[in-house]
């Protein structure tokens, strides 16, 4: 990305600045639009109108909320562990924000093109759990504590099916670099991994059902990792008020919210990179047909963002359809269902790849 902007502007400072600020802007934008979209989607699903007072169609609702949040008094309870309490939201936010560094928005728009991007994303996103535990413990509130404990157990367990599916994909693709994975599923949707990858042959058709299973497993477990319904038990509002961030208010609370929506996009991005061709267009590029080369990265970014938002929409869709699971059932789903399926899937994909 640095290289791209350096070529474009010829200035070290501007290109460095853009590269550095790009993920942050992304997280903020995702949260702004995400909160708005969540409200609208839930409203439409429930035969309501949703926010419509601030600006046309209530478009500025989230901005108004952020302004309100900024003005709020930073109230803290007396018996809390001040240091941990203050660090926790930053840590949680940093965790979700850091993932954006490696997400390839297009072949050119990528913060840092590291070779182990997938591994990095998985590692960094599970970093959040430390922040959540800190928040829950330092709040000195029983609800927060219970929420944090649930969250720790949940995120740690769901790492395993995620990792297993990722492992299967890595075996199949032979690389950990997110941009390379995207590149492998070049234009046209039949080259996507969900449809058996780019190579054409018998294995492609054999792979399709298992890829589908892999996709479902990773989608469910990433859903759990970002604490969305039906796995939102750490913050189950009817049981634990707001879970680990019960005691937070103002901007600190907003940081938890930001990271939640940031995370949603991050995991959607990873799912779409792994299975749905990343930034690749399903129907080829307009830039290629017209012979305008500079258009291609923007087209790619468009497709990538579209895919990301589509998965966010599915997450919302699920949230407003389903009830939430209980703690032990959550573990049951993970250990008794997802992990066995993921293992079987791993083995079969491995065998087919070997053949």
């Amino acid at each position: 990305m640095y290289q791209y902007f350096y070529d474009l502007t010829g200035s070290v400072i501007i290109s460095t600045l853009i590269t550095a600020v790009f993920p942050l802007v992304n997280v903020l934008l995702v949260a702004l639009i995400g909160v708005y979209l969540e409200r609208k989607v839930s409203a439409w699903m429930q035969d309501r109108v949703g926010p419509n007072r601030t600006g046309p169609f209530g478009l500025f609702q989230t901005i108004a909320d952020f302004l309100k949040m900024l003005q709020k008094e930073d109230a803290t309870a007396t018996d809390i562990d001040k240091k941990l309490y203050n660090i926790a939201p930053v840590l949680v936010f940093a965790g979700s924000f850091a993932v954006y560094a490696v997400i390839p928005f297009s072949s050119k728009l990528i913060g840092s093109e590291i070779e182990v991007g997938l591994f990095y994303a998985l590692a960094v996103s599970s970093f959040v759990v430390a922040g959540i535990l800190m928040a829950g413990w330092s709040s000195n509130n029983k609800y927060s504590l219970l929420g944090a404990m649930r969250s720790a157990a949940q995120i740690v367990s769901y790492e395993i099916p995620t990792a297993l599916v990722v492992l299967a994909m890595v075996m199949f693709l032979g690389t950990l670099s997110l941009s390379k994975i995207s590149e492998m599923q070049t234009a046209y949707f039949w080259n996507w991994n969900i449809l058996g990858g780019a190579e054409f042959g018998l294995s492609k058709f054999l792979l399709i059902p298992f890829m589908l299973v892999g996709f479902i497993i990773i989608f469910i477990s990433t859903l759990a990792e970002v604490n969305r319904t039906p796995f939102d038990i750490p913050e189950a509002e009817s049981e634990l008020v707001a879970g680990y961030f019960t005691e937070y208010c103002g901007m600190k609370w907003a940081m938890f919210m930001l990271s939640e929506y940031g995370n949603m996009f991050a995991v959607s991005a990873i799912v779409s990179i792994l299975f749905f061709g990343g930034y690749q267009s399903p129907f080829g590029y307009l830039g290629n047909t017209l012979g305008i080369n500079w258009l291609i990265p923007y087209e790619q970014a468009f497709w990538f963002i579209l895919k990301g938002w589509f998965f966010i929409f599915v997450q919302m869709w699920l949230r407003w359809t389903l009830p939430r699971l209980r703690v032990d059932q959550l573990m049951t789903v993970c250990w008794k269902y997802l992990i066995p399926y993921a293992f079987v899937n791993l083995i079969i994909i491995g065998i087919i790849t070997l053949l």
Binding site: A43, D47, R48, W317, T321, L322
Partner: protein, 187 residues
């Protein structure tokens, strides 16, 4: 094993069924209305703020007695002969000055029990439901059209009249003579 697979299938299938329903609802129009701009037409029997048509009130106090929360206060003063209070719309002759008719809407429970006993149908429920105020005392509505001075005057009038009557009675007692008193019987 069969149970296990069945559970997996049921989980996925019922989730998909649910998703189908919510997806359909994405495209159904909203049932909510935009309240301050759009208002529902309230049915004619709507029970909201009470209104008293004081011109029709005869001060019979029946509404105040029917009220389970005692939010209606009616004070009356008898008229003196010669004063014309007019008639109610259904032709009843009024005989009492209603000096004070207040309803405390902070207490009112909108049960409509005060409406039925009214003989002149002067107290009734309207469809006004937006009357929030900043002060609780603003919810006490005064329906009497007499100013406090006038009300005071009426009381004095009646007291004077009463005193006059007493005097006459005393005089009549002192001088026993067959006299036909001109004042009407008690109002």
């Amino acid at each position: 094993m069969k149970e296990y697979l069945k559970n997996t299938w049921l989980g996925i299938y019922t989730i998909l069924v649910g998703m189908k329903i919510t997806f359909k609802h994405l495209f159904t129009p909203a049932v909510t209305i935009q309240y301050p701009e759009v208002k529902l037409k309230l049915p004619e029997r709507e029970r909201n703020r009470l209104y008293v048509n004081i011109d029709d009130c005869i001060g019979c106090d029946q509404c105040a007695r029917a009220c389970p929360v005692s939010c209606i206060t009616v004070d009356t003063v008898k008229s003196v002969p010669g004063e014309d209070l007019g008639t109610t719309s259904n032709g009843k002759k009024k005989a009492l000055w209603v000096t004070n008719f207040t309803i405390d809407f902070a207490k009112c429970c909108y049960c409509q029990l005060c409406v039925f006993p009214c003989p002149t149908e002067c107290i009734y429920m309207t469809d006004v439901f937006e009357f929030a105020t900043y002060e609780r005392k603003d919810l006490v509505y005064q329906f009497s059209n007499l100013s406090p001075e006038e009300a005071e005057q009426k009381k004095i009038n009646f007291a004077n009249f009463q005193a006059e009557k007493e005097k006459q009675k005393a005089a009549a007692a002192a001088v026993p003579k067959p006299e036909n008193p001109s004042q009407p019987s008690t109002n």
